[in-house]
Homo-oligomer: 355 residues x 2
C-alpha cells in the first residue's frame, strides 16, 4: 500500500527522429535561464560516434607554422573563459514555414542555453602560428556517416572565417554548466561559436585544419545555405549568425483561459549585439506595447521577458511578440522563406480564447 504525497511531473525532450537522434527542448515548460543537460536539445547528422577518450588528441594542422596535437590535459591547463550562450539550430521553427519546407519539422524548441567553459581557439592558434595564406579554419568532428546525396562516408566538418575563429569568445569548450560536457553534446571537446547558429559549434572535435580557400564540404556548401528560390540556386547565401528572435512561452498556442490577469512570458535572443527591446501586439502588429525584460540583456544569451495582461473580456486573441536588437535588427511580420527552412524569425504568434 502506498501514499502519493509527491508525484513527479516534469517535461521531457520531444522526439523528432531517433536515427540520427533529434530531440527538441520543451521550451514552453522551461523557466530556467540555464537549460538542464537532460533537456538540452539534441541535433545530430549521424549516429553517435564511437571513440575512446583515453587517447584523445585535438590536432591542429594545415597552414600553421608548427602542427600540434593537444591532449586533453594540455587543453585543460591553458587559460580558459566562460561563455553563456544560446545554441539554436538553424532549423528551429522550421515547422512554421508556409508553404511547408521538407526536413525535420522542428517546433520552437531547437534552442537551449547554458554556460560553456573552454580555451579560446586563438590561444591554441598562438601555439601553432598561422601562415599568411590562411583563410578559413576547418573543424572536423568524430561523427561520420553516409549523406542522402552521396555514397561516400563523410565526417561532419564545418569551417569558420579566420576573423571569427580568432574572436576571443570562440572557444574549445570542455565544460557545460561546470560539469564535463555531456557525451551527446560533444564530450570531451566542442567548438562553441557564440552568436552563430548551432551547426557551427562542431561536437566531438578531433581535427582543426587551416586552409587557404573556401571550404567546400557538404555541410558548408550544400546544407546550411539559404536558397530563397525553390527551383534554382539564385540568391543563395550561407547560414551564419543567429537572427533576432523571440518565443512566447505562456500562454500556449490555442489555450483556453478564464478572464483574469496573466503574465505573458517568453524569451528573446539575437546573434549580433544584444536585445534592445521586446514588444507585444494584440492586433496583428498594428500597435505594439513594450514588455518588461527580466534582466539586462547580455550578448549571446537569451533574455526572459513578461507582460502583465488584463484579459477582461471574452473572445479570441492573437498575440504577437517582436524583438529588436542593438544593431536595429527587428523580427519581420512574415518569415524569410527559403527552400531548406533555415533562420525562421518572424514575429512569434499564438492564439488564445478567453471564456
Amino acid at each position: 500500500m502506498q501514499d502519493f504525497g509527491q508525484i513527479d511531473v516534469k517535461p521531457y525532450l520531444t522526439t523528432k527522429s531517433l536515427v540520427p537522434e533529434n530531440q527538441e527542448t520543451p521550451i514552453q515548460f522551461s523557466n530556467d535561464d540555464i537549460v538542464h543537460p537532460k533537456l538540452f536539445y539534441r541535433r545530430n547528422h549521424f549516429t553517435y560516434p564511437n571513440f575512446t577518450s583515453s587517447f584523445y588528441f585535438l590536432t591542429v594542422e594545415g597552414l600553421v607554422h608548427t602542427s600540434k596535437a593537444f591532449s586533453l590535459q594540455d587543453i585543460y591547463s591553458l587559460p580558459s573563459k566562460n561563455v553563456k550562450a544560446v545554441l539554436e539550430c538553424s532549423g528551429n521553427k522550421r515547422g512554421l514555414f508556409q508553404p511547408k519546407v521538407f526536413g525535420e519539422q522542428w517546433g520552437k524548441g531547437a534552442i537551449s542555453q547554458g554556460i560553456w567553459k573552454g580555451v579560446p581557439l586563438r590561444i591554441l592558434l598562438q601555439h601553432t602560428g598561422l601562415l599568411n595564406t590562411a583563410k578559413e579554419i576547418v573543424f572536423e568532428g568524430h561523427d561520420f556517416g553516409e549523406r542522402p546525396d552521396s555514397n561516400r562516408i563523410v565526417h561532419f566538418s564545418r569551417s569558420l572565417p579566420i576573423e571569427i575563429a580568432l574572436d576571443p569568445d570562440t572557444i574549445i569548450a570542455y565544460q557545460y554548466n561546470s560539469r564535463p560536457i555531456p557525451f551527446k553534446h560533444g564530450f570531451p571537446l566542442r567548438l562553441i561559436v557564440p552568436g552563430w547558429y548551432g551547426m557551427a559549434s562542431v561536437k566531438w572535435i578531433k581535427k582543426i585544419t587551416v586552409i587557404d580557400r573556401a571550404f567546400s564540404g557538404p555541410f558548408q556548401a550544400k546544407d546550411y545555405i539559404y536558397y530563397p528560390n525553390n527551383e534554382n540556386e539564385k540568391g543563395k547565401f550561407p547560414v551564419t549568425n543567429i537572427n533576432v528572435n523571440s518565443t512566447i512561452q505562456f500562454p500556449r498556442e490555442m489555450q483556453l483561459l478564464h478572464k483574469g490577469i496573466y503574465e505573458i512570458k517568453g524569451i528573446a535572443w539575437t546573434g549580433k549585439g544584444s536585445i534592445e527591446k521586446v514588444e507585444i501586439s494584440f492586433d496583428e502588429g498594428h500597435t505594439w506595447e513594450p514588455c518588461q525584460l527580466d534582466a539586462v540583456p547580455q550578448k549571446y544569451a537569451w533574455v526572459s521577458w513578461n507582460y502583465k495582461w488584463n484579459a477582461a473580456n471574452d473572445g479570441e486573441y492573437a498575440i504577437r511578440s517582436k524583438a529588436t536588437d542593438t544593431y536595429g535588427n527587428v523580427q519581420p511580420f512574415d518569415p524569410f522563406w527559403n527552400k531548406k527552412g533555415y533562420g525562421y524569425n518572424a514575429h512569434d504568434r499564438i492564439k488564445v480564447k478567453i471564456e
Copy 2:
C-alpha cells in the same frame, strides 16, 4: 576517461501541459504492440489526487438492492479477465483540425494500448443487485479541482448507460501489462471501457452510483460533446465510441528520402467491431492500394500494417492511409469539424520528398 560503446537513444513523452499533466505518446517511434507504461500517454483534468490506498474502498450505491464497499482484496479475489484495448483521448489529432480548434493541441500520440486485467463490472453489480429503475451508472474518480467554467470544486465523474456497464468487457482494472496499474494511470483501480474514447475509462475510481436519469455532470453534459456549430449547440451529441482511424508511423511528415524501397508502416483501430482493411493512396484518394496487416485484427486493439513502396522517382508525394472496420465505417477524406475538436478521424496524410 570513458568509452562510448553503448549510447542510449530513446523516445520520451511529448509535453503538452504540466498543470494538469498532459503528455503524448511518441507514436511515430513506438513499434510495440504493447505500450511501455513510461510511454503511455497522460491525460488529466486536474492535478494528481492525493489519497492513501491503505483504506481504499470502492463503494457501489444508489439504485441497488444492497450498497457495498469493496476492499482491494475483495476485488482481487473476484473472477477477472484480460482485455487488450486501445485507449485514445477523444482530442487525439485535435491539432490537425482546420480551422483550428481551441484546447490542448494534441498531435497523433494521444493514444496507447496494452493489456488491462480486472473484474468485469457486471460481477460487482451482481453482488449489489440493480433496481428496475436503474438507467445510468456514474463513476467518480479521486481527482478533483476547479473547472474554468465554474468556481465549484468538482470531481471527475462520468456515466455509462446500463447496457455498456454490463458488457462483459467493461472491467474494473487493477493491472496493466501484468503489473499494478501505474499511479498516473489510475492505481489502484481504473474503469476500462474498451472501444470508447478514453474519458470513459475513469481513473482512481472511488465510487459507483446507480441513477435513474441521464447524468448531468460537466464532463458528461458540457465537455465530451460534439458541437458541429461554432455559434450554437444545434446538432450536438455525446462522444462515445472510438471512430475508425489510422496513423502512418513511417515515413514522417515532410521527411526527405533517397530513392529506394521502403516499408510504409502504421496502425489502425476502431471502437466498433474490428479493422477489416487498410488502404493507401498516393494520389490524394483517387485510387487506393491494399496494405498488409501484421496480424488478424482483434476487437478493441490496434493492428499494425505495412506497405512496400518502391520510391523509384524523384519528387514530392502525398501519402494517405484509410482504414475500414467490420461495421463498414470508413475514415473520411475531411474530418468532422466540431467546436471542441473531438474524434478527428480523417485519412492520415503525410508528405515526403524523394531526392
